[in-house]
């Protein structure tokens, strides 16, 4: 009888143990967080510049910033991501121009790894010392790290129309989408997240 009692103790103990949500359900959509400069007049910008097949890559574990480059096949991640950003920008009546054609806006797209993005508030209004486009990611304002792999896809819009006298550029919109290291379908979830970032930013539109 005592044995039965102790078996039941174990069974009930196990039933009562803490559990966490099903990871398949947790990871099937990226969290999409957008922030904007409340003083920016988004309707006043007309043109933007964005690369075709290169996105940035920033990692705490690899201090040498690098880039992700599309391979020849169209299905590769950077290209699919950039195309979706461009598609949304075009839908919002912004016109893509070359980087040497004096764009109003610069669009940065990059993946950050091991950065604690969601635990630390990162609002627009921060300035980059200079805008070189891609490969100049040495001054991001977040530094904390997780002990495990975590990462976010970041889309960032900088104001090239109002460069400061000392040549600084201001970030006026950003979107953090994570976690890109725990996805079930990375490309599909990333492109849907980009769409969602624009959906929840209805102020981001050029006004004729």
């Amino acid at each position: 009888m005592k044995r039965l009692f102790f078996v039941l103790v174990i069974v009930v103990t196990l039933v009562g143990c803490q559990s966490e949500p099903d990871s398949l359900k947790l990871f099937d959509e990226l969290v999409v967080s957008t922030n904007y400069d409340t003083k920016a007049v988004f309707g006043a910008y007309t043109t933007y510049a964005i690369p075709t097949d290169t996105i940035g890559f920033v990692s705490n574990t690899n201090p040498n910033d690098t880039i992700l480059v599309s391979r020849a096949d169209n299905d590769y991640y950077p290209r699919r991501v950039l195309e979706r950003v461009m598609s949304n920008m075009n839908d919002r009546e912004y016109t893509r121009v070359g980087r040497n054609e004096n764009p109003d806006l610069g669009v940065n797209v990059y993946v950050v790894k091991d950065f604690n993005l969601f635990q630390q508030v990162v609002y627009p209004n921060y300035y980059y010392p200079y805008y070189y486009g891609y490969g100049s990611y040495y001054s991001y304002p977040y530094v904390n790290t997780y002990a495990y792999n975590t990462g976010a896809l970041v889309v960032e819009i900088v104001d090239l129309k109002n460069v400061t006298p000392d040549n600084k550029v201001k970030v006026i919109w950003n979107a953090y989408m994570g976690d890109v290291y725990s996805t079930i379908d990375l490309i599909d979830q990333s492109t849907k997240a980009i769409d969602q970032a624009f959906i929840q930013s209805n102020y981001l539109v050029h006004e004729n």
């Binding site: 009888m1 005592k2 009692f5 039941l8 103790v9 009930v12 103990t13 039933v15 009562g16 803490q18 559990s19 966490e20 949500p21 359900k25 947790l26 990871f27 959509e29 990226l30 969290v31 999409v32 967080s33 957008t34 922030n35 904007y36 400069d37 409340t38 969601f118 635990q119 609002y123 627009p124 975590t150 994570g178 976690d179 725990s182 969602q196 929840q200 930013s201």
Partner: protein
């Protein structure tokens, strides 16, 4: 504040132990239905357990006192939702969780029924402390808050001894839990539930 709760319970246990004669252990499955802050979770929980140790006073077994410990998990999936912030928005689906642990000192009054040594319907009241951990899971991220509070638990149930000479019995009860736990961070007010418990007990007489 926590120390005060613990000392109160320990003191009551000492009194109980000194006066006690016959006693029993029980271990029960414990299901609960949230009654408050249902916008956070309104799903019933079947994941929980309650264990306890109670002592009778006197040979007629009309009063007992003891200590009860319970734990339960409440959870609910929330479909994708967009939350506006001062300068942006965040969109995600998420899971709300509560991990609850309660410790009470309790006393019971038993009504005489039929065969005196086999059926023990009772009413009781437990007072103690409740600890809730509130977790919001979204993707790999978790927002978490913990809260202690005062717990009051009126309870009604029945003990059924399997046979006159058996030291094992079945226990069933319904209880109402009210506790003052709240989470300002997650906008969670007080915590109250109604619970059902069913299980076995080991009698020491």
């Amino acid at each position: 504040m926590k120390t005060k709760y613990i000392l109160s319970i320990a003191f009551m246990l000492l009194i109980v132990r000194a006066e006690a004669q016959e006693n029993f252990f029980y271990i029960n499955w414990n299901g609960n239905i949230p009654l408050s802050s249902k916008e956070y979770i309104d799903n019933a929980s079947g994941r929980g357990a309650k264990i306890g140790y109670r002592f009778f006073f006197g040979r007629d077994r009309r009063f007992s006192a003891g200590v009860d410990f319970n734990w339960a998990q409440y959870d609910q999936y929330k479909p994708k939702e967009t939350f506006e912030t001062e300068s942006g928005a965040i969109t995600t689906d998420y899971f709300n969780y509560i991990y609850q642990y309660g410790l009470t000192a309790s006393s019971q009054y038993y009504f005489p029924l039929g065969e005196k040594d086999r059926f023990f319907p009772y009413v009781g009241l437990g007072l103690g402390v409740n600890r809730n951990e509130y977790n919001v899971y979204y993707n790999i991220y978790t927002d978490s808050d913990k809260a202690f509070g005062f717990l009051a638990r009126p309870e009604a149930g029945i003990l059924v001894r399997i046979g006159e000479r058996r030291r094992m019995g079945v226990m069933a009860a319904v209880h109402y839990d009210y506790s003052t736990n709240k989470s300002d961070e997650l906008d969670y007010k007080n915590f109250s539930t109604v619970g059902f418990q069913l299980g076995i007990m080991m009698l020491q007489w």
